[in-house]
Subunit: 493 residues, 2 copies
């Protein structure tokens, strides 16, 4: 390791390698109990270019040092920047922070992995571009990192992995690959066409340890004439199924094109109400319409008609001109038009201040009323068994729902933290027994969650291991990520 | 080979193995000169189940016999069912023709690879489902095969590869993989959520020789209240750029959600005009709007407003009730609401009757007016240099265009056929020199087209070969497909 660190410093410069305990403290798992040290890094390297990343990979192969990459490392509930394997060298990509291109006519940008949602938003504003990014609830994350981890935003481009067009990837062996049309040097169409000639490997580099993405095309939303931020509210669970069925119809029909959020007691449409987390019984739905005023009006009338059949539903909306977002001040309205913020971070710290941790557990279900009602009841009962309140934000696509549930705890209290983590493991297997899997998970549960994907005696794991061995024979890149281990660490099964 | 054929017959039954010259004639490259025999099969096997497919793969590995798979083998311009390597055993999947599920609430179907667009359409109609499939111009192809080859249709679900949700794949080694949420046995969400936990391999099984897809989820379009089939026409090239820019705006805005087709002299909106192929100077655009009447009306007004700035443009439309398609009789209107047909096949045989062949060359460009005009002029000049008329249908997505161009010839005339094939090779390299690649190609040009994807000294090829060697060490599956060769056939480079 000492020789590896010397080699990293020779390759990147001494200022690009961090090793002191104090420097490393910033990169621990932020929502683990403060005394746990399973996921602590051995060092941090900070490449500034693709060539630097190649050098890092070369050194890691020579010295057989495990790496762990991140763009910003801000996905705190999943472990933040912390590595799965203790002592790994973190590849901190924050210095690769350039927005390489913005194309207004074709509505895309090309970004490096250190570009934050804030940076992309600011660049679009500064350039006077009539383009909106899609942003998640908290704006300090990496645009690339979020998309690679299947993260979500709330505009029509909110399924971020689907809005990726063209990647540059440093493979574990050091080779540089460009995907899609970018596989042709000097391609005119890298960021406009999602597939190239032959197989498309892009999906392989998401939620994986098969390569380091150093550049990515991301599709943007053209600024609409009108933006309507809409809210529906129903009292209690009685009308929940009807609400979901009406919503699915509107999504499948293309009347609603963004990714609606449905929650109970999480302050949707009413930030004041967030204080009473887990107390409220109303369900609140947030969604948006975008386009020419006449089209939006006709779509809103269709929404009214569809929701008229939902008992007790109240519908409200706030209209904005697409070219003047100065009046968009609250979180709900901002996040649906691509304005990044930090409000939710502050709200999430309400329980225990800066020591507050939270652990998200997010199963996927079909988007029918009966499925959603059953999942809500199931999760409420499961959490209830552990004495944890059920707190959920359901993110909708036309056919599926991410049930984002979260548990808060005080990271200074080991017993309380342990209780939440233990409950998580129980919920994973309980959900699996009824055919539901998670879309993403924390470092601690990557193996357990991967283990639930068991079709044909874990064919997916065998397949992933075959690819892993072919691309990364020394097993240097992010061992254990999403439960994928290199050969020399595949013990105990 | 003889022993392999005996083993296939033992595994599948003698009736599932074809070897006679007469039986094999049906499976030649239908649009090659009748005397060429480079792409002729050695035998045909016809599995009826996943277990049969696994048996075929096992026998092929034992006897080192090259396989070549197809669902229906109807993509005639690309080689139909014919194999890249002479003497390959065709894996004809037509017997796997079950529609395994139709889900009306969640708007999807699950199909086997032998299911034709006709079959899926008929099944939806027979079941009274208010769901429309997306179909390409000719309805006898395989739903699975078309999606895997990046094929297109003309509804909002017309980018077929994007509408795939969940695959079952027999790997070259015989293992069976289910992708996405289907990697969990008994998953509730296989066909509703496109990604699972960890990397997504689905793109790897498209335009590739990495696996045999035996089952696939496909998203369907809910029947809209109103369907408006629309046509715009401009005289000559003068307004072409303005038309494309206006169209791109409408697509990016989400006013037009289907995949418009723009052509010159190919009979769009005027089947009578198709006789004068290559003669007409008008450009005709076909597109559609779908939804509630009031929404569609507002969208049509937006289309009128956007096209008002295009000099000389004439706009027309035909409205249909979504629940009564009985009056939809012409090809243009049928193909935009998912009714499969064979009219275009007949139209394409006009030049030389049943002996007519045609070779499609389809570069991808960005969807801007200046790019499209430049590509039209470039292709017209390139074809002109070979004395071939420029005949094009441009399929639009919001950011990219497939410039489908085609050349007709008499497959009984070797010199004429050769001339068209030779011109094709010249065009591929000429287009590449300006940064344009093809989205798909004929057997004869798979190597040449793959060769144009040359970034970083052909990093894409090295990557594909690494995956190929890992998944198919004996190189039995579709050697040479899309220019990907197994190790023992990688000679001459």
């Amino acid at each position: 390791m000492t020789r590896a660190l010397e080699a990293f410093a020779r390759a990147l410069g001494a200022g690009a390698v961090l090793t002191s305990e104090q420097d490393l403290r910033e990169f621990r798992d932020p929502y683990a109990y403060v005394g746990w040290d399973e996921f602590t890094a051995g060092a941090v390297v900070m490449p500034s270019s693709v060539e630097d990343v190649r050098a890092v990979v070369r050194v890691a192969n020579e010295h057989r040092v495990p790496l762990w990459t991140f763009g910003q490392g801000r996905n705190y509930t999943y472990g933040g920047p912390a590595p799965r394997v203790r002592g790994s060298v973190l590849v901190n990509l924050r210095r690769m922070d350039r927005v390489l291109e913005v194309n207004e006519e074709l509505a895309y940008a090309v970004v490096e992995p250190g570009v934050r949602f804030f940076d992309l938003h600011d660049r679009l504003r500064a350039g006077g571009h009539r383009l909106w990014p899609s942003v998640p609830d908290i704006g300090w994350g990496s645009v690339v990192g979020n998309a690679l981890e299947h993260g979500r935003g709330y505009t029509p481009y909110g399924d971020h992995a689907s809005s990726v067009c063209g990647m540059e990837v440093v493979l574990p062996g050091g080779d540089v690959l460009r995907t899609g049309m970018g596989a042709m040097a000097g391609s005119t169409s890298w960021q406009v066409h999602q597939r190239g000639f032959g197989p498309s490997p892009d999906g392989l580099f998401m939620q994986s340890n098969f390569g380091i993405v150093t550049r990515m095309g991301v599709w943007l939303m053209p600024q609409p004439e009108t933006y309507l931020s809409c809210f529906a509210r129903v009292p209690g669970d009685a009308a929940l199924g009807a609400l979901v069925d009406a919503l699915r119809g509107l999504l499948l029909e293309g009347v609603i094109r963004n990714h609606p959020l449905l929650g109970q007691g999480v302050g949707i449409g009413d930030p004041e109400g967030a204080a009473a987390v887990g107390q409220a019984t109303d369900w609140a739905l947030r969604f948006a319409l975008y386009g020419r005023r006449a089209v939006v009006d006709a779509q809103y009338a269709a929404v009214e008609a569809a929701f008229a059949g939902v008992p007790g539903l109240e519908l409200t909306q706030r209209a904005y001109a697409g070219d003047d977002l100065s009046g968009v001040t609250n979180h709900d309205d901002r996040v649906q038009c691509g304005i990044p913020g930090m409000e939710l971070m502050e709200r999430f710290q309400a329980p225990y201040g800066e020591a507050t941790g939270h652990l998200d557990l997010s199963p996927v279900s079909p988007a029918t009323g009966s499925e959603v009602v059953a999942m809500v009841e199931r999760l409420r009962a499961l959490y209830g068994r552990h004495g944890i309140p059920y707190i959920a934000g359901l993110i909708f696509s036309p056919r599926s729902v991410l049930h984002i549930t979260t548990s808060f705890f005080d990271t200074r209290d080991e017993e309380q933290t342990r209780r939440v983590y233990d409950a998580y493991g129980h919920l994973v297997t309980a959900l699996r027994s009824e055919g539901y899997g998670l879309y993403r998970t924390n470092l601690m549960y990557m193996d357990l969650v991967a283990d639930q994907f068991d079709f044909n005696d874990h064919a997916q794991r065998r397949f992933n291991e075959t690819i892993k061995d072919a691309l990364d024979p020394n097993g240097i890149l992010s061992p254990g990520k999403q439960g994928i281990w290199p050969k020399h660490l595949r013990t105990g099964r």
